[in-house]
């Protein structure tokens, strides 16, 4: 088992769970195979020494993860240190009460190795399928999360909002592990409202960093950092930032390009569009040697500031399981250890580490202790 050197950064994998035909042999995995493959990939993430596995949530083919906590619960039982997360949890169309229950339950099952990422989803019909209106996307994300916050922090909640049935004296069960809610990231590609929301609560902000050029995400993250400071959670450099990324590697960069090209050219979303050369130049997708991936991702903090979590998308577009596992070996074995060292160099002491349950519990206890000693100091001493 690899030991994780503490550099403050967390590395991991996020997946959308697409069932895609392998364009090199026309083989399409069954849903069952793909689900099992995802579970295998998650365990491999821990084996190669990375910290996080994050699963998307979708309600339409070709994506299979409609029920993330079922899969994450299984992975929790099969791993020891891996943090289980989501990318993303649909805060718009899920009932916040069910999110509160599901993820508090997962926290107990996984002994605290849980956080989650809120998102609005990118599939329009999911809204009407779940009885919502896509035009309410932002207001739903705002109101539902406000309720979720309270359900995790207050034992009994009275609630009345616009989008769900009122609650009177409702207690969400189980209560969060150790009385501490899971850490929450908010993911957004373009909405300042969501960056504002993340900053308001002092939560993390995640930029998927895959589809757009870095300049776009730089502006959004810098806005979040400023607002985090504005709301008094610390300095801008102390805000909690996560980034996505995407890579395909081989020892020889020409081999990587040759091997990945058919997957790129036929990939969902960007396939049959720009050339792989244009896309790798314009977005963080890196296809080449491990050293090229190291160089590209080591430079990320120059653009976004020192950050807390780096997730890679490695298993999409029909790549076979064997290839994905080989990629994870290279990523965990050759790339991430060097990135850890690079990111540790000149990382200011005030930059927080990637969030963990233990750290949140310790923070809560420190705050309680500080409050009680302040109270003691105010008590007049009898002379």
């Amino acid at each position: 088992m690899n030991t994780v050197a503490s550099t403050g950064m967390q590395f991991g994998i996020f997946t959308v769970g697409d069932v895609t035909t392998d364009p090199t042999n026309d083989i399409t995995p069954t849903e069952h195979q793909r689900i099992k493959n995802i579970l295998t990939i998650a365990q491999k993430v821990e084996e190669v020494g990375m910290e996080v596995f994050a699963l998307g949530e979708h309600h339409n083919p070709p994506f299979v993860p409609s029920s993330p906590t079922t899969m994450l619960g299984y992975i929790a039982a099969k791993t020891d240190r891996l943090i289980l997360s989501t990318a993303t949890t649909l805060i718009t169309t899920n009932d916040p009460v069910k999110i509160a229950e599901d993820y508090a339950m997962l926290q107990h099952v996984a002994d605290g190795r849980v956080d989650l990422m809120m998102g609005r989803g990118n599939t329009g019909p999911v809204y009407p399928w779940f009885g919502k209106d896509i035009r309410d996307g932002i207001p739903l994300a705002i109101e539902n999360y406000a309720l979720l916050q309270r359900l995790w922090r207050e034992d009994f909640v009275n609630w009345e909002g616009k989008y769900r049935t009122p609650l009177q004296g409702f207690q969400s069960t189980p209560r969060p592990l150790d009385g501490v809610a899971p850490f929450v990231w908010h993911g957004s590609i373009r909405s300042p409202e969501i960056a504002e929301q993340a900053a308001f609560y002092g939560d993390g902000f995640f930029a998927n960093n895959i589809f757009w050029p870095k300049e776009h995400y730089m502006k959004l993250i810098s806005y979040y950092r400023q607002r985090f400071e504005h709301y008094g959670h610390g300095t801008a450099s102390e805000a909690i930032v996560g980034l996505g990324g995407q890579a395909f590697m081989a020892k020889n960069s020409q081999d990587a390009i040759k091997q990945f090209r058919p997957y790129f050219d036929n990939a969902p979303v960007y396939g049959h569009g720009p050339t792989m050369e244009d896309f790798t130049e314009q977005t963080p997708l890196t296809v080449g040697s491990p050293q090229q991936v190291i160089d590209r991702y080591a430079s990320m903090r120059e653009y976004y500031g020192d950050y807390q979590r780096q997730l890679f998308l490695m298993d999409h577009a029909g790549l076979p399981l064997k290839t994905v596992l080989e990629q994870l070996d290279i990523l965990g074995g050759e790339v991430v250890p060097v990135l850890r060292k690079e990111f540790a160099v000149n990382r200011p002491a005030n930059v927080p580490d990637g969030p963990t349950h233990e750290a949140l519990v310790a923070k809560r206890d420190r705050a309680a202790q500080a409050a009680s000693s302040a109270e003691l100091a105010e008590t007049p001493v009898a002379s």
């Binding site: 109101e143 589809f211 049959h272 569009g273 720009p274 314009q282």
Partner: protein, 209 residues
């Protein structure tokens, strides 16, 4: 001398194209009209053909290439716009519409626009009024009353009792655009990409209870 930034988009596919020819005539006339008002015209001509691949890629990926982004900024940050397309199958060309489709739908609000089109025969001239004009109206742009259609025959016609000659129509349309461009301050506006909607609260209307 004050100046106004005039963007010209032309979506002719051949080079040289009669669409570009019309665009140049409209740009020159607008420059002259602005000069008459004591205003310097800073004209930027954009051949959409040069970014055709980038436009399609943007439709696929959702983001513009650096080259296309510059074009978009030139168009949306202008004081006035001249938009010229060939008429294909009764409407604006696919390339023209694809370019419009990658723009932020709010980004042409209040933009003074002169619309022009070219075609093989006069029979398609109404495409300007049933296709181009509603397109820009939907985008909340301000389209000048005179639109200019140039059929192949117009390039060799002096006009007659039934229709004015092309140069007269060009001049009249340019005069109308120059008047609107004169009072346009679009190129000096600073757009805040992170402006939150009025009344936005991070906890929502009910969250703070």
């Amino acid at each position: 001398m004050t100046s106004r930034k005039i963007a010209v988009i032309t979506s002719g596919l051949s080079q040289p194209s009669s669409t570009r020819l019309l665009a140049d005539r409209l740009a020159d006339a607008t420059t002259r009209q602005l000069e008459g008002l004591g205003i310097d015209a800073d004209v930027h001509i954009i051949e959409l053909r040069d970014t055709a691949q980038d436009v399609v890629n943007n439709l696929m990926t959702g983001f513009p290439s650096p080259k296309l982004e510059k074009v978009i900024e030139t168009v949306t940050g202008a004081d006035a716009l001249i938009a010229v397309t060939p008429v294909f199958t009764t409407s604006y060309s696919g390339l023209f519409k694809s370019f419009i489709d990658v723009l932020d739908p709010q980004s042409l609000t209040d933009m003074p626009v002169l619309i022009g089109a070219t075609g093989g025969s006069e029979r398609h001239s109404l495409a300007l009024d049933y296709a181009m004009r509603p397109l820009f109206t939907y985008l909340h742009a301000v389209v000048v009353p005179t639109s200019v259609y140039a059929a192949s025959s117009d390039w060799g016609s002096a006009g007659d009792a039934a229709a004015t000659a092309l140069p007269d129509r060009v001049e009249r349309a340019a005069r109308e655009l120059a008047q609107l461009a004169k009072t346009s301050d679009r190129s000096n506006r600073v757009a805040d990409p992170f402006a939150l909607p009025a009344g936005f609260s991070p906890v929502g209307g009910y969250g703070a209870q």
